[in-house]
Symmetry: C2
Subunit: 79 residues, 2 copies
């Protein structure tokens, strides 16, 4: 079973990486880019076949390792 985790900085947390991308896009001539936020996506290949158990496992992984829940929010999708 495959799972996808998307981790983004929470709203209000400064995102220098996104800001750098926004600036670089402007330099390259792309007008009209009003904001950029950059996060990470983690695709997991799981041996677990039960959908709800897989989701619970991945949430535990996020809490323990994949996301820093002080400043980041995460979203889990089971594919």
């Amino acid at each position: 079973m495959k799972a996808r985790v998307t981790v983004m900085l929470k709203n209000g947390v400064l995102d220098p990486q996104g800001e750098a991308v926004r600036h670089a896009l402007g330099t390259l001539g792309f007008a009209g880019v009003e904001g950029v936020r950059q996060g990470k996506v983690i695709e997991l290949d799981l041996a677990e076949t039960d959908r709800s158990k897989a989701e619970a496992d991945v949430k535990a992984m996020c809490e323990k390792l994949l996301a820093n829940t002080v400043i980041e929010s995460y979203r889990v999708e089971i594919l």
Copy 2:
């Protein structure tokens, strides 16, 4: 208009970051994680209101800046 770009390393390209996550999950006691690939997600806030023009713009941004198309593939979603 909002757009989301997901950039992943192509299949066959070594992903040391994903491999490190897989190993760390094993160390933390999460068994049954068979593979991990890590990529990045970029959320863009665009002034453009035409859906197809926004999609074309974002694809051009990917080709020029956001993805290294030699080793990375990208997916564009207009939200």
